[in-house]
Amino acid sequence: MISEFLAASFFSVFAISVLLCYRAGKILNLSLSSISTLGAYLHFNPFLATLLGIFAGFLLHESTKKLEIARATIFSLGLAIAIEEILRIIFKKEYIITHVQILELFGENVIWNHFIAGIISISFLFLFFSFLFSKKSKTLKIVEEDYELAEIYGIKTERARKIILSFTGGLIALISSFYNQGIIYPTIGWQNLIFATVIATVANVFKEKSYLFAIIFAVVIICLQKFFL
């Protein structure tokens, strides 16, 4: 059950990142797939993975800040393909197999790297919800509502968008550099993104509570898979 809990925390963070980009960044950020793959390939240096993830997010913001949501989303797909192709050129191999260390936790064997990814994810969730329940979260809510309204309130929306896209890029690269271990291949990040987007889409229906519901859905779906499907 611990490994399912770790998986749920990883996918919660992924889904929240998708939601943040969509609700506050006004983009369905498809490049998170390849940023996740990038993190996996750079597992030997999570710091570098994070930096490059931040850079990819920043690049996405700069290239799409003047575009409407549909065009920005298409651009993010192009960026995803570009990152994937660069990884193919650099790493060449069809698959990279990485050594995984097993950790015994309460009688259950857990992959050490999944445990680290889980710890980072849970830490992020804790910090994020601390922020959401604080007064400062009003800024985020206004940005999510309407950019023009936010500008009237004196919020620099472009700066907020830049921070969100760069931060989520760095975060996804970091947790993926730990979570996507064992076997790495160029399309590994798409699997994460598709599953996270399913969770994010359902959670988005709940508007202001969407972030909380992203966690609930991730836990419920993964538990359902274990016991019923």
């Binding site: 998986a7 069809e94 399309t187 798409w190 499907l229």
Partner: protein
């Protein structure tokens, strides 16, 4: 004057030789490679193998092959578009594509365009297409029956008294047919079966299948997933201290570097050919040159069969009409000597063309057959 005549004679000889070299016909072969989408990992090795085949066809057979690659993605519609674009570039035949739906649409397009298509990976029912009158489709890969034959042979070789089946849901048609063959043709006891979904839909689903397989107590677990999730299955199996031998249909788990890095004992697999075997004079060169050029172990199913498909077309096209030649001739490939039956299926299981079985034990790969 004498020197001038000598000069003219030498010039004429040079020009003549030049002309014959020029006239040496270029054989253009289209290759459908899944460069994008779900099967893009396999696409990398298929592309590498295709480039190697182009080189070897010139060096070994003296046939001036030019391959033209088109991205067929992972869907039938993208495959059809890629096939059409290849046909407009004057290719004599098209080979490749990965999944069964892709190969089925490629077969229909081949008939429509009257252009030979050789399916080099997929196991869909292409024989049915031939029976319906499509003369243009051939397959040098196994059909589903032969996948079952190899799995059943492995159960016999390993003297297994029981077995369990783990299927991969996105490949349900292929896996179900393979499993049915095994169930109907082995004396070993069937202990049950489980299926897992694509990791895109259910990332942790394979763990449940592994738990059921271990609980069944079967001696051999037959795993129908040729993709990268199969590595996670084997690792989960080892983490849960599973004792059974895992027999994989190949793909990712048939790659020597994957098995060595994974380092889990008793993982058996099938392959069209394995390094260390000399099925023909091309086998050794395929494995050696692949490693020296692409700096990794050669793929021994999707890669080698794409390589062979190009070699087959090159040999057939250099002799005359490709359809006629393919129907009556035999052709050297790295996995064996190919000839096709009345349904245009390569005669796998014949004396000159047999699949291989291997097992990873104690840090090395043993060839079982």
């Amino acid at each position: 004057m004498r020197w001038f005549l000598l000069f003219l004679t030498i010039l004429a000889v040079i020009l003549f030789l030049g002309c014959t070299a020029e006239e040496k016909k270029e054989v253009k072969i289209g290759v459908l490679i899944p460069k994008t989408g779900e099967f893009s990992s396999a696409g990398v090795v298929m592309e590498n193998a295709a480039k190697l085949a182009e080189k070897h066809a010139k060096e070994i057979f003296g046939i001036n092959v030019k391959i033209i690659i088109a991205d067929c993605g992972d869907k039938p519609e993208t495959t059809k578009a890629a096939f059409m674009s290849l046909s407009q570039q004057g290719v004599v035949a098209v080979v490749g594509a990965y999944s069964s739906p892709q190969s089925l649409i490629a077969a229909d397009t081949a008939k429509e365009l009257k252009l030979v298509y050789i399916a080099s990976v997929a196991s869909a029912d292409l024989e049915g297409k031939v029976k319906e009158g499509n003369r243009y489709v051939f397959r040098n890969a196994y059909n589903t029956t032969y996948w079952g034959v190899l799995a059943t042979e492995f159960l016999e070789i390993s003297n297994a008294s029981s077995y369990y089946l783990i299927g991969f849901d996105p490949l349900r048609t292929f896996n179900a047919a393979l499993f049915n063959y095994v169930k109907n043709n082995t004396k070993a006891e069937f202990k049950g079966e489980a299926w897992y979904k694509s990791p895109s839909i259910a990332p942790e689903d394979y763990k449940k299948a592994v738990a059921s397989a271990i609980a069944s107590g079967a001696e051999v677990v037959i795993l129908g997933d040729p993709g990268p999730t199969s590595v996670s299955v084997v690792r989960e199996f080892a983490m849960r201290s599973g004792k059974a031998t895992i027999y994989s249909v190949g793909g990712t788990l048939a790659l020597p570097y994957v098995l060595k890095n994974l380092s889990v004992n008793n993982v058996a697999f099938q392959a069209a050919a394995m390094e260390g075997q000399e099925k023909t004079n091309l086998t050794k060169r395929y494995f050696e040159d692949y490693r020296s050029i692409f700096k990794e172990d050669a793929n021994n199913y999707a890669g080698i069969l794409t390589y062979d498909a190009i070699m087959i077309v090159a040999q057939a096209a250099s002799k005359g009409d490709p359809v006629e030649q393919l129907e009556k001739g035999s052709f050297i490939g790295a996995a064996g000597i190919y000839s096709f039956d009345e349904n245009h299926q390569a005669k796998w299981g014949s004396e000159k063309l047999k699949g291989s079985l291997g097992i990873f034990r104690d840090g090395k790969i043993e060839i079982l057959r």
